[in-house]
């Protein structure tokens, strides 16, 4: 069980996270949603200890340290692999450093996405690099797989394939926390939706509850975020009105 207690983070005078508390259990597929700068990435970095913060992060009751950090993997759109190394170099390094490394899963995913194994990763397309980043995160053998905008730059077919593959390969104890703007695409993938707005946790619902109440994930997000549907028409009216006045 991953538990976050009152996580806060400031960048200078900017409050990136404001007392966020969250509990994520094994096997959950959590969608982390929010506008740009809402604090999604900072929250993930806080979980992994990649940024200083206040509050406490525990995994099965213990603080996240070097002892249990292996139970987390992280795929980021910024990429955390070494561009001068090949996929096989990474595989070897992961296999040496992570005792739970899933070589069978790694090879299956590499084959599925037809990624070159002996070309420097820096020479692959952005889409391929994203795929490799996610493959590493899924193959590390972690219990908690954190993904921060992993598909930015991938085409829709690629992304859809990925969700299907993910659902097919994940084991019941594996937990995914996925930060993305592609809300409608992941609607059938996530089991829980967590919303962050200006560093605060503003929404947290099981997608099964949303289904039961006949609400779509997008409607839930818009409603919780206070999205005004007539915002565009009002702005256009104002703009065209200004031109008319001239």
């Amino acid at each position: 069980m991953l538990e976050l207690h009152d996580i806060s983070k400031h960048y200078g005078f900017t409050r990136a996270l404001d007392k966020v508390s969250l509990t994520v259990g094994p096997g959950e597929l959590v969608g982390l949603f929010g506008e740009n700068g809402a604090g999604k990435t900072t929250l993930m970095k806080s979980i992994l200890g990649l940024t200083a913060h206040s509050g406490e992060v525990t995994l099965d009751g213990e603080s996240v340290t070097r002892k249990n950090i292996e139970r987390f993997s992280f795929a980021t759109s910024q990429h955390s692999f070494f561009p001068t190394l090949t996929a096989e170099d990474h595989r070897d390094f992961y296999a040496n450093h992570f005792k739970g490394f899933r070589d069978k899963r790694y090879r299956a995913l590499m084959d599925f996405f037809e990624l070159p194994r002996i070309r420097a990763l820096g020479r692959l397309s952005t889409g391929q690099q994203n795929q490799f980043e996610v493959i590493l995160a899924l193959s590390q053998g972690a219990d908690y797989i954190l993904m921060d905008e992993p598909f930015a730059g991938n085409d829709i077919f690629n992304r859809e394939d990925f969700y299907k593959v993910l659902l097919g390969i994940l084991e019941p104890h594996e937990t995914v926390i996925l930060s993305t703007h592609l809300i409608e695409e992941v609607e059938n993938f996530v089991t829980r939706a967590v919303l962050i707005k200006k560093g605060k946790l503003v929404g947290d619902r099981q997608t099964s509850d949303l289904e039961d109440s006949g609400t779509t994930l997008m409607s839930f997000v818009k409603e919780t975020y206070g999205y005004e549907p007539d915002r565009v028409s009002r702005a256009l009216d104002k703009l065209t009105g200004e031109e008319g006045e001239k």
């Binding site: 992994l48 070097r66 950090i69 992280f74 910024q78 955390s80 692999f81 070494f82 561009p83 170099d89």
Partner: protein
């Protein structure tokens, strides 16, 4: 004899041989540059003996003025090693955030070991060699100075 695996001492993707060559090469160049000190001492000694031979008095110049910039090569090498350490660390941010990955490893020192070991060895070698060579050159100077002062020439 099996060659030691130096790849564990450089960042992933960096060539260990190149960094070892940089460290050892800079030491060799600094050593060659430092040879100007014993050469200057020997020349000074020779000039003094020549002056004594023609009956003129002669006192060897101070060691500090003879050594002047002879050991600067080691200090420059140490500075370059510090830059190498910065470069090694910076490669984890070039087109990637590989530092995120390194900081998620269970081995706390993996990133530090790969970034700082060889440059650290280079800096230590530079400083140790500069001290040892300074002592050795000073010993040569002192023995020649004493020889000259005792009138053995």
């Amino acid at each position: 004899m099996k060659k030691p695996d130096l790849s564990r001492l450089v960042p992933l993707g960096a060539q260990a041989e190149k960094q070892v060559a940089a460290v050892s090469g800079s030491m060799i160049l600094a050593f060659i540059w430092s040879l100007r000190i014993p050469v200057a001492v020997a020349r000074e000694y020779y000039l003094c003996t020549e002056r004594i031979k023609i009956g003129a008095g002669a006192v060897m110049e101070e060691y500090s003025s003879l050594s002047s910039d002879g050991l600067y090569g080691f200090y420059i090498a140490a500075g370059l090693m510090a830059l190498l350490a910065v470069w090694n660390y910076a490669t984890h941010f070039m087109g990637t955030r590989a530092d995120y990955f390194m900081r998620r490893l269970s081995s706390k020192w993996e990133l530090h070991r790969r970034c700082f070991t060889l440059p650290g060895v280079g800096i230590a070698l530079s400083l140790i060699l500069s001290v040892l060579l300074d002592l050795a050159y000073k010993a040569i100077y002192t023995s020649l100075f004493d020889k000259l002062a005792s009138g053995l020439i």
